[in-house]
Each structure stands twice: as C-alpha cells, then as structure tokens.
Amino acid sequence: MTTIVTENCKNCRFTDCVTVCPVACFHYDDEMLYIDPDTCIDCSACIPECPVQAIFEGDDIPEDQESWIEVNAEKAPDLPVCEEQMDPLPGAEERKAELGF
C-alpha cells in the first residue's frame, strides 16, 4: 500500500493535507507536494483534505495516475519537508476551478 500525490496538485499546492499528516511525510518543490513512502503510515487522513482530490491510496489509485507512485518515491526524499500549511501557488484557485472543484 502506498499513498501518493498526483497530477491535480501541480500548480495548486494547497497544502491542506499537511496540517493533518501525523508523520510529516509531505515534501515540496515549486510545483507540488510529494509523499515520502518510507515515512508515510498510510493513515489516509490527508485524502479528504485535498481540495482538488489529488491524493490517492493503494487500491484506489487510478490507472492513468500510477506513474506518480515512482515520482513520489523518487522526488520526496531529496526535497524539503512541508510541515506547515503554506499559501497556495499563484493561480491555484483558477486551476482548482479548471479541474472542476
């Protein structure tokens, strides 16, 4: 089982998820968040927090998003940890609307 951040987070980075993560496993770059699979405990607390439903776990990951499993695992460990909620990226609200949320 893995929990991952996918496509929808790109250019949004709302970081609501970070506030409920019990183990601080979210890392970030200029575009989005990534989950470090070695730290994440699959509690799924973050999933309902995401305003653009970018987070999926295990059996629930849509097929077309499966490549993100590797991306999260590869990118997260070398990026800084996101411990507190940050401001969303500029244009995040527009992107959210575009995504239909």
Partner: protein, 460 residues
C-alpha cells in the same frame, strides 16, 4: 530574572496525557523558538495513549507513528513521568505551581451511553472496554466477554465499530501475528460468534467508516460481508449528497456497500457480517443477561447533509447475547479543571481552557479529544495541538508571574513523598524492549504486558 522562554529561564510546561495530542503539543513546543522544558505525565507505565491501546492490532503500519513520538521523547527538553495519576497522585494545583503552564491532553476515556432501557444488562458492553481488552490495556485486563453466542451486535458505524466487528470477524490465524493481547487471542479462539450485525441509525450514504476500512471487510478469510440490495436504495437527498464532488469518501463507501450487496455469500465461510442501516436500539431485553435487542426502523428527514434519523414505529427484534455500543466517546473530568458535562470535553477557546461561562482560566490549556470531542484521526491532533501551543506561546508574558518554578523537581518530591513509583522514558524503553523480546518467538511484533505490576517488575 531572565526573560521567560530563554535558556536561562525556560518555559516549564506540564502535559497531562501521552497520546498523540500530548506528543504533538510537545513536538510543537520543542520546535518553537521559545526555550521550553516539558514534563509529560501519564497514568499508565506505558506511553502513546490510543496508538498503543486503541489502534487495532491488525493495523500495524499506523502504529509506526510511534517512531515520531520517540524522536520527540529523545529531545533533551522532554521528560516523561509515567505511572502517575494526575488528580489523585498529584493535583492540577500543584502542577500549576511547579510549572508555567499545564496542557490537558487526557483524551476521551469513556463511551457515550445509548440511553435505552436494559443498557446495563450483562452482555451489553462498550466498545472502549472491548478495544482496551484486546489491546492489553491494564484497566480492562480482567474484563470477560461472553463470546459463546451465535449473534453479536455492534451499535454504530464509525471507525471503532469497524475495528470491533473486524476483530470479531477474523480468524485466529488472521490475528495471531499481530500485537493483540494473548488473553484476547485465547478467548477469541473459543468464540462461537457466527453472525455479526453492524447497525447504523442512518443509511449507507451516511456511514462514517473510512473507505479503506470498509474495503478490509471484503478481504476477510472466513467471513462474508453482507449488505441487502434493498438497503442500497437511496432517498433523493442522499443521492444528492453522493453527487457532491467533495463528498467522495461517502461515495466510495456507498460503492463498496453496493459491491457487497451484489456478492454471492460464500457458503464455505463460517461467519457472516451484516451491515444493517436505518435502525436504532429501543430496548435491550433480558433478565440479568441480554437476550434480545429491540430495534426501531428509522427514516431520514431533512435537507441533504443535514438529514437526521427518526423512528418510524416499525420494530425489528434481534436475538443476541452480546452487544457493543460504539456511538461516540466522552472525556472524564479531572479535579481542578473545568468540564463541560454535556459535551464530555474541557471548555476552551482554541485550546485556552475557560470556565463554563467562557472566562479564560490562566495557565491551563488543552488539546486533542478532550479539547474538541472525539472526532478525527491521529493526524487531526497535530493541527489541534499546534493551535493550542500557538495560543500558549502567545500568552508567554502573562505566564511569567515572576516566581521561579522548580518543574519536575517538585513533581518528584511530591511523588516520592507519597511513595509512588514513577517511570521515566528510559524505564519505558526497558519495558518496550522486553515486550518485543517476549513477542518474537510467537511471531508477534510484541507481547504487551497487561498488568501494571508486570511492567514494573521488568524495571526493578
């Protein structure tokens, strides 16, 4: 005297309770710019609250959150004083004198009552005591649950109800390599329960399980998960609820129920777990022992997302000798701390404790379930504790009363005077190591010590 919160004059904080909210409060204090010394008090010899005694034994990954708490405990500014009952062994007043601030993170230790006749019959139990029992909590070590009946009933459709019904639905083989307490595993091995009813007062669109937990019911080795197809028909309001994009979790849960309703029960499996909807208990019948539950069928009324269940008068009877109620939790009052009896919480404003009229009580703070009620999961407590700690640090000037505090020293002298054996984090590590050692030959991650004396004997 140096400014409060500097290295020469650190802020002394006592945290009451060592569960997630206590540890997140400690973490937030340690990470802040303010120089802090924390004394965390715990009633049991073992820390971690519901992560140890609440999280189900077959969910080991969730318990890895302890690694993070261990990191916090390793800070030189952190000190554990366990096996100490705040309120009896040491008073809140004493803690307020020895420390600049006290954070209450004692959780919600007891169950809400159903409020129906017969609730106290033998065979009618709380989910709390059953969960505590199978998780080896010393308070519940000697509880006995009569598992000799065919039918078990669980009232409630939330996470804890899911845990209780799943443990009853699993085989010994599915549980024996977990950290379930041995006495519980032995009793469950003799269980005669064949039929489990998980009863919700509202419908399948309002059940409060998480999708992941519900999925687990589809993967049980010797138990069918059964939902009646006719129960999947929704009223227009519930349909509207599921169409709302933000309500995706409920949609997933509903879809999972639909999948169960279409499954053909596997006759080779020896147990059946039924999810029953739109029903509430009206009365528990029996002489001294529970024999039957009288349930009333419900109907939903109100707008989407605000639907409440109302009794229709139609009665369903279910013969059963064992019932667990899991309809919510409430905190237990601690002498010297205000308590909101109806809510079962400590009245507060963003974590600043208030009296019941809303006036701030200086020096007292609260976090976790005892602050906001029993909602959310482990991680929810992180944000909750961060909020409380922000308030506390914002009050720094007020917390400085100019009187020097002796912190842990005062606590130790009071406890030593009363001859109370307090446990440090190093002591706990010895118990921890021993538990892992004892579990190993059985293929278990640990075998928990379930008596306080057993734990104490490890460190003598």
């Amino acid at each position: 005297m140096a400014t409060l919160g500097t290295e020469e004059n650190p802020l002394l904080v006592a945290i009451v309770g060592s569960g997630p909210s206590g540890f997140y409060a400690a973490e937030a204090l340690i990470k802040s710019d303010v120089s802090t010394k924390i004394d965390m008090l715990e009633r049991l010899p073992s820390p971690y609250g519901l992560v140890r005694s609440g999280v189900a034994p077959d969910h080991p990954k969730l318990k890895q959150v302890i690694n993070l708490y261990q990191k916090t405990a390793g800070s030189p500014d952190f000190n554990l004083i366990a096996n100490v009952n705040v309120g009896t062994d040491i008073s809140i007043e004493e803690l307020c004198q020895s420390h600049h601030a006290v954070i209450m993170t004692s959780g919600a230790e007891t169950d809400r009552k159903l409020g129906v006749p017969g609730e106290d019959l033998q065979g009618s139990y709380t989910a709390t005591e059953f969960v505590g029992w199978y998780n080896g909590h010393p308070d519940y070590r000697n509880r006995e649950f009569d598992l000799s009946h065919d039918v078990a009933v669980i009232i409630g459709q939330g996470n804890v109800a899911a845990d209780v019904s799943r443990i009853l639905s699993k085989t010994v083989d599915e549980l024996k390599h977990t950290d379930i307490a041995q006495h519980a595993l032995d009793a469950l091995a003799e269980s005669k329960i064949k039929e489990i009813h998980v009863i919700g007062r509202r419908g399948p669109a309002q059940a409060k399980f998480t999708p992941k937990e519900l999925r687990e019911f589809g993967e049980l080795s010797d138990c069918n998960s059964i939902v009646r197809e006719e129960d999947m028909l929704l009223n227009p309001e519930s349909e509207a609820e599921l169409l709302e994009k933000s309500n995706i979790a409920s949609k997933k849960i509903y879809d999972q129920f639909c999948e169960f309703s279409k499954r053909e029960a596997d006759a080779t499996k020896s147990k059946n777990c039924y999810f029953d909807f739109l029903m509430g208990p009206k009365e528990l019948i029996g002489d001294t022992k529970l024999e039957k539950v009288i349930l009333e069928k419900n109907k939903l009324s109100g707008d989407a997302f605000k639907q409440s269940a109302r009794g229709t008068g139609e009665i369903v009877e279910l013969e059963t000798g064992i019932l667990f109620r899991s309809i919510g939790y409430r905190g237990v009052p601690v002498t010297g701390v205000p308590f909101h009896d109806a809510w079962g919480t400590i009245p507060n404003e963003k974590g600043r404790v208030t009296d019941n009229d809303g006036n701030i009580v200086p020096k007292l703070y609260t976090s976790g379930w005892i602050k906001r009620g029993p909602s959310g999961i482990i991680g929810t407590n992180r944000a909750c504790s961060v909020e409380t700690v922000q308030c506390l640090l914002g009050d720094l000037e007020k917390l400085d009363d100019g009187v020097s505090k002796s912190g842990a020293e005062t606590i130790y002298s009071i406890l030593d005077y009363k001859n109370i054996r307090h446990i440090s984090f190093d002591d706990w590590k010895k118990i921890d190591t021993k538990e892992i050692e004892v579990g190993e030959p059985k293929g278990k991650p640990r075998e928990k010590f379930t008596y306080v004396d057993e734990m104490l004997s490890v460190i003598e």
